[in-house]
């Protein structure tokens, strides 16, 4: 017995010893491994740091080299210009020099882009701040790539989602870099997709700081361990610090973009490395760009600079392709609307011309503001049914947009379904009762809820004003009120490439003739490659609007206006009046083209809008030049060629000025001399003090340089001599065919104040006159 126990015990002890020795072995091995790992980790870290330092040094070296490169380039450009001064214009030498200067500026552009990248790396990148229109930028980029993609049979569309972008379109930020980002992503998408579509989505929202407050509260719920608490607090602080610097300001807006395509897709393993591509020179983009592309790495840096982040989103299972999503923060410039009102109300009649030319320069932003307001207003009527016969992704986008506006949409993609759908609409029409007369307040509140539940995320602009539609006539009110189920207006949108035009047209004709008391509008969608043959057998009666694909931006605006027109022809009154209200001008009636003292941009743009809308189909046109900043000015035009003088006279009178015409130098001098003598007689020849309010006989003289009998230079010299007796100085603008420095010198030595090239362009003229009156 005892032997067994003893032997068992000894066995156990042996086992323990063996076991522990094995354990010790293992431990030792693992410790050695650990030591190795530590060593290699340290080595890796050092290697990384060294690599980072190398790249940092490279960027720094690049950045400093940039100065030298740019100086040399500037030297070359300057010397080329100097040579051009001495070359005879339009000679071979001059043309060669011009080409050299173009090459030099191109080179400068490339160098700048490459150096941009090194500046970003070296942390010295500065973002520009300019005002621009986000909707327009998106539209331009989408349009450019649409044409490119069309060759591959792809569709490139911009999906406005909830139209928040169209509402908050005016922003301040770095327009150029944003364009580069978009163009790069779109270019890649088009490159790697062979069929399907590329969609750009954008939406805007106000970044809420409440998220952070929430998370901080959340952390506070773990007070159990003090160290936890302090750690959470500390983390909180750093989170807020890191995130706050970018999202400051009450007027910053977050824009989220998605570029999605149905192409090859990027496998998961490669997604991280995709952003490591560096500069890729030579992505040709048309129109205004520097001409060099940037790799996704730079795109990432730019996005980060603007306070956002870019990533590849996971698409739904079963869908192929890639989806890039990024967000940036920009400052909204809609708040500046108030600032402009004040400057407007303080206009002095005399200074109107000056201030209005500044306004003319701001035409673009005013226009986009009008557009933004149209989108904010949305549709204030119900009962609109819309039938869409469109191919591709555009159909979904259109459907979503129209449904968000409260329109009932019937979407089909094959022309065979056209007839049955139209029948369905007709049937629902016939089963109608009379429209109820809902009270006005009711309708307003309903429409407000329709339009403005999305406004919570929208921009802070004069939203209330958009509500104030002026008192409408009862007839219009009744028209606007109807059950949402009843079709009272019908909009039909047909893509011209749907095939079988003759059948479609005959069906449409039957339909329009069978509905009598319903307003029906028809919109055709054309694209760049719609064959004209498709319409050769068309016997379509109505065509309210022809829009070009891709359907976005300004074309959506046109469509929206068409829809708004359903309420009656006076739809533009509320809009024009709306603008008047926001600008806080005359609260009273709107007089078309009446002689108000301060004829500002607003009343005239309103006048132009209503005159354009007498023709409903011109709803897509919103030209910029229908203001009269030169009203009250007396301009003397000296021009011998009949065509040029006709065009110039018309341009000037369009801008509101009174024009007198002289055909050669001698006549000009005669006219001016007579006028000078006439004015001075009025004032009994007393010396007039210098100042802006002097009664000049002519406010401006536009002098053509080459005229028969006496040329422009000679005439100017004579005029200046006459002026000396009276103490006047009439601004004289020279008109020449070429703008060489030599011509400039000649005109200045003759006594002219400014000079412009023929043919006369209104914006240049306005700018020059503005300058003339600021001195």
């Amino acid at each position: 017995m005892k032997i067994v126990v003893v032997s068992l015990l000894s066995l156990m002890i042996l086992g323990v010893i063996v076991g522990s020795s094995i354990m010790l072995q293992l431990l030792r091995r693992s410790r050695i491994q650990e030591a190795f790992l530590y060593a290699s980790l340290i080595k890796q870290k050092e290697a990384i740091q060294q690599a980072e330092r190398k790249s940092m040094n490279k960027s720094l070296a690049f950045a400093s080299a940039s100065h030298d490169v740019r100086t040399s380039l500037a030297g070359i450009t300057g010397l080329v210009e100097l040579c051009r001064l001495d070359a005879t214009p339009n000679s071979k030498l001059d043309r060669h020099l011009e080409q050299m200067s173009t090459c030099a500026s191109q080179l400068l552009g490339i160098v700048n882009s490459v150096l941009d990248t090194s500046k970003v790396e070296a942390g010295k990148m500065q973002l520009e701040e300019v005002e621009f229109d986000m909707a327009q930028v998106l539209e331009e980029s989408a349009d450019i790539f649409h044409v490119v993609a069309l060759k591959k049979g792809l569709e490139v569309i911009w999906d406005p989602c909830d139209c928040s972008v169209l509402r908050c379109s005016n922003v301040k930020g770095d327009c150029r870099r944003l364009k580069q980002i978009l163009d790069n992503l779109l270019g890649n998408a088009v490159k790697f997709t062979s069929e399907g579509h590329v969609v750009v989505r954008a939406w805007a929202k106000k970044p809420s700081l409440e998220n952070f407050k929430l998370s901080s509260n959340h952390e506070f719920r773990f007070p159990s361990i003090l160290s936890h608490l302090t750690r959470c607090l500390w983390k909180n602080e750093t989170n807020m610090e890191i995130l706050n610097p970018v999202q400051h300001g009450p007027d910053s807006v977050e824009f989220i973009f998605e570029v999605e395509d149905t192409g090859k897709g990027i496998p998961k393993e490669k997604r991280a490395s995709v952003f490591e591509n560096y500069v890729q020179v030579k992505e040709t983009t048309t129109g205004g760009h520097e001409g060099t592309g940037l790799g996704l790495g730079i795109v990432q840096s730019f996005v980060r600079l603007m306070g956002g982040e870019i990533s590849i989103k996971e698409k739904d299972p079963g869908e192929r392709g890639t989806c890039f999503r990024f967000n940036i923060f920009l400052k909204s410039s809609d708040a500046s609307l108030d600032g402009e009102e004040n400057t407007n109300s303080q206009l002095h009649p005399r200074n109107t011309s000056v201030a209005s030319t500044q306004l003319a320069g701001k035409n673009m932003t005013a226009q986009s503001k009008i557009r933004a307001m149209t989108f904010k207003r949305g549709l204030q009527m119900e009962g609109i049914h819309s039938l869409l016969l469109i191919q591709g992704e555009t159909k979904e986008i259109m459907q979503r947009w129209m449904e968000s506006l409260g329109v009932k949409v019937w979407a089909i993609d094959h022309h065979k379904l056209l007839y049955p759908s139209l029948e369905k609409i007709k049937n629902s029409l016939c089963a109608s009762a009379k429209p109820d007369s809902v009270s006005r307040s009711n309708s307003l509140s309903r429409t407000t809820s329709l339009n403005y539940n999305k406004e919570n995320e929208g921009c802070s602009s004069s939203v209330d004003v958009a509500d104030q539609t002026l008192p409408l006539t009862t007839k219009e009110r009744l028209k606007k009120l109807s059950f949402s189920g009843l079709p009272t207006y019908i909009l039909i949108v047909i893509d011209l490439s749907s095939g079988n035009m003759s059948e479609i047209c005959s069906i449409l004709k039957n339909f329009t003739s069978s509905i009598h008391n319903i307003q029906c509008k028809i919109v055709w969608l054309a694209s760049f490659n719609t064959p004209a043959a498709d319409l050769s057998s068309s016997n379509q009666e109505k065509c309210d609007l022809v829009l070009q694909k891709p359907l976005h931006g300004s074309r959506l605006y046109a469509l929206l206006k068409l829809l708004q027109e359903f309420g009656g022809t006076n739809v533009d009154d509320p809009q024009g009046i709306q603008i008047m209200n926001t600008m806080q001008e005359r609260q009273q009636s709107i007089e078309l083209g009446s002689s108000m003292d301060d004829k500002t941009l607003l009343s005239n743009s309103f006048a132009s809008q209503s005159s354009q809308h007498t023709n409903k189909t011109s709803g897509s046109r919103y030209s910029m030049d229908d203001d009269t900043p030169l009203s009250g000015m007396n301009i003397l035009l000296a021009e011998d060629m009949p065509i040029l003088s006709k065009v110039a006279k018309h341009t000037l009178s369009r801008l509101g000025a009174t024009v007198e015409h002289a055909e050669n130098g001698r006549d000009v001098v005669d006219l001016v001399t007579k006028a000078l003598r006439g004015t001075s007689d009025k004032h009994n020849g007393t010396a007039q003090p210098q100042g802006d309010l002097k009664p000049l006989p002519y406010d401006i003289i536009l002098m053509d340089c080459e005229m028969p009998i006496m040329n422009g230079y000679e005439a100017t010299r004579k005029i200046r001599e006459e002026e000396k007796y009276y103490g006047f100085h009439i601004p004289i603008i020279a008109l020449t065919a070429h703008a060489t420095p030599e011509e400039e010198r000649k005109s200045i030595s003759a006594g002219m104040d400014f000079h412009l090239t023929k043919p006369l362009k209104s914006n240049e003229l306005l700018e020059t006159i503005n300058n003339a009156y600021q001195n």
Partner: protein, 151 residues
């Protein structure tokens, strides 16, 4: 009916003219100057241009027919032609005029004759295209439609 078809042709023609550089932005400016108070402005200016140009081109042919040419006069005429074509936006004519002027400076009679031929060709092109455009406009208006405006 006809209207949509005509409007389509109008858009096509205008687009082609701009793409080929036969017309440029100045033509759009002219169109923008046309309104209710001047409904025929573009037509008037263009007719003036045709009359003027034909006179000029005949003059130029006559002068260059002789062996001895006064290049200063030729230059003056070409300058005038360049100015008027620029003012209606006839871009290609304007470009040829520029080349024409350099031939004048070099007193190169053969070069001038060649340029004259080119100018005449470009002019005929512009003239026939603009006439087509105006005819289409008339037809569209007569059929009750309206002139589609370009985006």
């Amino acid at each position: 009916m006809e209207v949509a078809h005509l409007q389509r042709r109008f858009i096509d023609l205008t687009t082609t003219l701009f793409q080929q550089g036969i017309l440029d932005n100045q033509f759009i400016q002219l169109q923008q100057l046309q309104d209710e108070s001047n409904p025929n402005f573009v037509h008037e200016v263009v007719s003036l241009f045709f009359q003027d140009s034909e006179k000029l081109l005949n003059e130029l042919s006559r002068i260059l027919d002789h062996q001895i040419v006064d290049f200063k006069i030729v230059d003056a005429h070409v300058h005038q032609f360049k100015g008027s074509s620029a003012s209606i936006g006839a871009q290609r004519i304007k470009d040829v005029c520029i080349a024409f002027r350099s031939c004048c400076e070099e007193n190169n009679r053969d070069g001038c004759i060649r340029c004259l031929q080119q100018v005449k060709q470009e002019y005929c092109l512009v003239k026939s295209n603009l006439e087509d455009l105006f005819r289409l406009e008339k037809q569209i208006l007569a059929a009750g439609g309206s002139i589609p405006t370009m985006q």
